[in-house]
Amino acid sequence: MKPEELTAMAEKARKQDAHFSHHIHVCTESGCVSSQSDVLLKNITDEVQRRGLKSKVCVKGVGCMGLCCNGPLLKADDTMYQFVKPEDAGAIVDSLASTPVAELVCDTKQPFFARQKLIVRENAGHIDPESLADCVAHGAYRALLKVLTSMTPQQVIAEVSVSGLRGRGGAGFPTGLKWATVSKAGGKTKYVICNGDEGDPGAFMDRSVMEGDPHRVLEGMAIGAYAVGAGQGIIYVRAEYPLAVKRLTRAINQARREGLLGHGLFGSNFDFNVEIRLGAGAFVCGEETALIASVEGKRGMPRPRPPYPANSGLHGCPTLINNVETFANIPAIIERGGKWFATIGTEKSKGTKIFALTGKIKNTGLIEVPMGIPLREIIYDIAGGIPDGKAFKAVQTGGPSGGCIPAEHLDITVDYESLTKLGSIMGSGGMIVMDETSNMVDVARFFMEFCMTESCGKCVPCRVGTYEMHELLDRICKRQATMADLNLLKELCDMVKQTSLCGLGQSAPNPVLSTLRYFENEYLNLIQSSPAGHTGDGDHHVALEVLS
């Protein structure tokens, strides 16, 4: 594709759009599709057709609008509707010419929408992820064009460094620094990998980005590839995300057909291709070295680092591996500049972050908020507080690798540093809210069970340590534990954290450590109320049979 063809494509799509006097956007992401938004979309299309309004009303499927708990969501011109059933289609189409269907209206002025700041998700709800023309009309590939026609790889890396963007996959590693490292690594063949494994329970941010704006991810990868000197990209998506896989496949085919992927993009001498690899849903395959092993066709198991993928990754070549959301931030940074991006957020955490809100809150769904927003604002304003008049108890961030934050710390700001200081982590963006009825030992046991079943089995501390920690937590929950068990649990937490090979094992004790930090009395109550608890010594003293 030549540069002017991109502009022409956007113009044409915009002109076509201008013919419509009304727009109906139906969410077609996994959440809403599970409550029949696909049928709803079809019904609306049929109703529009039946009324002979096909040339006046534009009906399209769009990405997630965020308030998933009230889905299916639908936008008819400026009115948002919630809980829309397939049989409401007729009424909605009729309302275009008259007044909105009052009982279905969803207030877009409520804090849930008003307090968000959209960068990565700016097009969600506006574009049809299955239409390249629609995406291009909304700015897709403009940043890539800018990069290929007016920037050197060094300038791209400098822009990303200035933005202060940090990896959204969990660890928060500075993206510019990572790109610079890969670009400096020797070797002709380099790879770019997009990590879309998203294994945290309760997290669906990356899925939403891949389903709702797949071209943005491809564009971010292409820019990254140009910056580091790679020619081949791989998107690793879990097979449990069939819709994301479908949309990405479609997007790749479209981009390839139009020359937005392939040889000599925009008349430059930069070649870039992308292929999709499906993961079988192992949490550990989100860890970069395990992911690379999996792409190479090996068993998905981490290996000791260094060497880091930046120096020796896929097939031993320098490899840039970033998270979906990280890549999706890139086009905006290139278009509006690193300086602009750096104005959002806190001193060390820039930009916005998408969170998946779940648990005991009124509004569950996806939000994108500026870094540094007070946690209280997320829980009480955006999420609408705790339902049924219950009291807030804690919020778990960072999934099974993270920790909980209790009510007394609700006023902290949400950024990498302050979450780490409280013993939790930003993680990939899951937020699970618990109310006063939640039993924190049980919460710790739940996450430990997850780690135990997801441990790859390579190293002993994680493989057997998570089993034994789970066993001890189970015993505490069932009121069968003693103080000796609790002490053993603490010792195990320390050992597993210090000696495990990869991040899974190193962070598996975190939920236990953080519940112990803030809710130790719950552990003690369970132990003191157990029949064995008072004896104090429940050590198993099983002598090894023969050791000589």
Binding site: G457, Y467, Q498, T499, H541, E545, V546
Partner: protein, 243 residues
């Protein structure tokens, strides 16, 4: 193949347990320590095979680094100051070995490898006289299908030495690992009985390299199974000489 980076001729100096030592750039902490008579315990490491980094017994402290590092996978650097023994490390090592005993059914008194087992001698060396963790007592099989060798899953510590020697030295890649976590297990080909494997050459390298009584020759009685691992350094030396 043996170390994370190629060994060069450039030499560097460092300290291990307060002892000044020198080595070639690219050598690992474990290699250099052993060359200098400093013992760091390992179960999954085998000279001549790729580094696995799974047993975590060789974790050492490096001055100035908050994180412990596995000696087998850490390349020496100029001026490093490494501590291989401390109460903390010994405690971790003991716990790791205790975990191994709790994981499967290691009943030494009725094992053909009794007295010649690396796990057993490791426990003795680390002064382990009891296990504080709940035993899993899993129900595991003994694969008796091969006419010369036997795999007893009850005694396997998943060190993957057999998998690596089979793939990297024998070139057969008969063995691999299936499953996750404590349910992981050694398999033959596509999880078939060993005796039905079409790739196994019956070379017996895995038996000799297995640290425990998990892989043994058939027809051995309690305590009779001794292992001969000398073939591996020999083969490695021959291979390097050919290059």
């Amino acid at each position: 193949m043996n170390t994370p980076v190629d060994i060069t001729t450039e030499s560097i100096t460092l300290q291990i347990d307060d002892k000044d030592v020198s080595c070639r750039k690219g050598e690992t902490v474990l290699q250099v320590a052993r060359e200098n008579g400093i013992d760091i315990p390992t179960l999954c490491y085998m000279e001549g095979l790729t580094v696995w980094g799974g047993c975590r017994l060789c974790m050492v402290e490096i001055a100035g680094s908050p994180k412990l590092q596995a000696a087998c996978a850490t390349v020496c650097m100029e001026g490093m100051n490494i501590c291989t023994k401390s109460p903390r490390l010994e405690n971790y090592r003991r716990m790791i070995v205790e975990l191994l005993f709790a994981e499967r059914n290691h009943v030494c008194s009725v094992c053909v490898s009794n007295g010649h087992c690396e796990l057993q001698s490791m426990a003795v060396k680390l002064g382990i006289d009891h296990v504080r963790f709940a035993y899993r007592f899993p129900h595991l099989e003994v694969d008796n299908s091969h006419d010369r060798m036997r795999m007893d899953h009850n005694r396997c510590i998943l060190c993957s030495r057999c998998v690596r020697v089979c793939a990297e030295v024998e070139g057969a890649h008969t063995k691999d690992i299936k499953g996750r976590g404590v349910l992981a297990a050694i398999i033959h080909d596509l999880d078939q009985n060993w005796g039905e494997s079409s790739t196994c050459t019956s070379c017996g390298k895995c038996v000799n390299i297995c640290p425990t009584g998990a892989l043994t020759h058939r027809g051995t009685a309690v305590g009779e199974m001794t292992k001969k691992t000398t073939f591996l350094p020999y083969l490695t030396l021959m291979r390097e000489a050919q290059l």
